[in-house]
Symmetry: C3
Subunit: 263 residues, 3 copies
């Protein structure tokens, strides 16, 4: 009962429809002490890989025992399962579609259960809005102290996305664009560790076929409106324009090549 | 004093201006224990019918005694009245412009008062921002335990919008598009009850002049990127495209006809 | 320990990326009792003057002792300083780039300190995301009761933006457009005080080279879809269209002239 009652919500519902509020209302109705924080509701519709990325770079910063509820669920109402997990000291409730892939790649999976015991649902769920009718009531029960092991059995396996890793060659590392943020900064899948064997000043970064230059420390290290590359706050090589829009300027898109060479 | 201090906000203010924060700050200044939840701030500007729809499909999910504050108020500063109501065990504070229409169509109206006693406003209200200067302070007083009957007298009448009902004929039900959501799902005003006299497998749905097909159970019941119709989580007939954008695909807009026929 | 734990966040991060949630998670991890309210995350990217305006018209409405954290910080990672201030009975934590200019123009600056003591940061900060790595932990310590004087010394000076004042002539007041809101209302830098020496009915307002007409009291005082001018809820002369979009209709942009003449 002394448990954390902090719960975050991540959906692809946006904030202009009644859906997110319906989920929040349901959680609060069933667990009045719940403290709800929005993780993100602007996940592109049905985009599970993007949700996996955003989740992995926000959820781990929350306190121990925080419950993260993810409703990016294009196959809602089918036989796809809902899973509850304990990962890295926090709880996650999510559809079994791979959205958890990047979190479990970073943090230890401590337990995993299929949500099968739905005896505590307040009413039979609709077929199209499990966020309100299943995820929210199950989340409320977890916040009320229910042990996730009581939700159902452990699965034999669960869905993981294929996450592209950079190719490390003798004279180049070849990765790709995995995320473009609101500032149009271009995030690659090349981590700081991968380039750590090289002197940073010897590295040259290329993105979308154009040479960006060496890796610098801050956005402001480049002249205003000029391209630069840096190790970003996620520990990944990022291509940016100081106070400008790199993806637009370079014409870069998700999946484009990011290449690093050295002298 | 042991009352609920949960308050939701619904506005057409968006989230890029200082307005919503000014309302929240004022509520918290006057009722520090207030627990504020955003219902929706992306109501299209001045669009009372849309606000009425979003409200009816989110507010009722909240706990008993929740206070819902609605500031979609194109005639702010005129003689339009502000009303406080108890409906279905919750409280609503709203301009008398019909925004409450769909909620009172679904839940019992238990009491209704004109907000006339403004003796507890912290300062004379501006003429243009009653959200901050009237709604927020009145909301804080209600959260602090003020009985809404003390706000003012009961009105003789109040504004209700004309809500279009589907026309039920001998060989067809003819409704219309009343909402299009972020996913471009098309929501009609035809409820599950209206079609409940028919075997679902005998029904054929048409929208924007095109045949959609039979009613299925889930989005994923149709092949990816194909149209479908279903009974949605609001209990309404909805036309969608599995992982696609139905309104865009069909060229459908608010007010367009949705027709259901049967064999 | 009995201090307020209310903290607001203002950023130019938008709400589609993991950044805002990473800040919130970090604050809550280090101060579980924190009560976080979004001030605004839709500040245009890198736009410090706009952030200064939004801040000044929302933050002061919050309770005494509220902590406002501002992360609109285009020169993150450079030698720009982070400052903590007590202003008008509230706390502000912000980059020394002038974002505080309009607040200190309105309210008394009570104390000001450079954030130099970073001994309590949980880990060495990244060079690119001080919102998560410096602002959030420092905010948590302030919420936990740390006196801001312990963060570092008082600065000799700090950055203030040049804020354009209207030019008051013998037969005209000439100001400019300083803000355009979601409704496309056009806000000028001409305050109610500046025009208070004149009878309102004698004033004529011009914007973007077009005559708007006299100053009225409410949006609804003009016919629907017609231009009007009024004193808005910020105490500033505003040009609007009743239930329409003034900036679009008039082709007005930030910096355009707003002129008031009189008979």
């Amino acid at each position: 009962m002394a448990k954390n009652t902090l719960v975050t919500l991540m959906t692809d519902f946006g904030t202009s429809d009644p859906y997110v509020a319906a989920i929040k209302g349901t959680i609060l109705r069933l667990c009045p002490r719940a403290q709800i924080v929005d993780l993100c509701h602007e996940v592109p519709a049905h985009n599970v890989p993007m949700a996996a990325f955003i989740l992995a770079h926000s959820a781990p910063h929350f306190p121990a025992d925080t419950l993260h509820v993810i409703v990016v669920d294009p196959t809602v109402g089918t036989e796809r399962r809902i899973l509850a997990a304990r990962i890295g000291g926090q709880f996650y409730l999510f559809p079994d579609n791979g959205v958890i892939s990047r979190v479990v790649g970073m943090l230890p999976l401590q337990s995993l259960h299929i949500v099968r015991n739905t005896s505590f649902l307040p009413s039979p769920p609709s077929a199209t809005f499990h966020g309100r009718d299943v995820f929210a009531p199950v989340a409320a029960q977890i916040l009320n102290g229910l042990d996730i092991s009581r939700l159902g059995p452990q699965p034999d396996k669960y869905t993981l996305l294929e996450v592209a890793a950079p190719v490390i060659g003798d004279d180049a590392i070849v990765g790709q664009v995995v995320y473009i943020d609101r500032f149009d900064n271009i995030v690659s899948n090349i981590s700081a560790q991968v380039v750590s064997g090289h002197k940073v000043e010897n590295l040259r970064v290329f993105c979308a076929g154009k040479e960006i230059g060496p890796i610098v420390r801050t956005y402001a290290a480049a002249p205003r409106h000029r391209t630069l590359a840096l190790i970003n706050s996620m520990g990944l090589v990022e291509v940016a324009v100081n106070q400008g829009r790199a993806a637009h300027f370079l014409g870069a898109a998700l999946g484009d090549e990011v290449r690093i060479t050295w002298k």
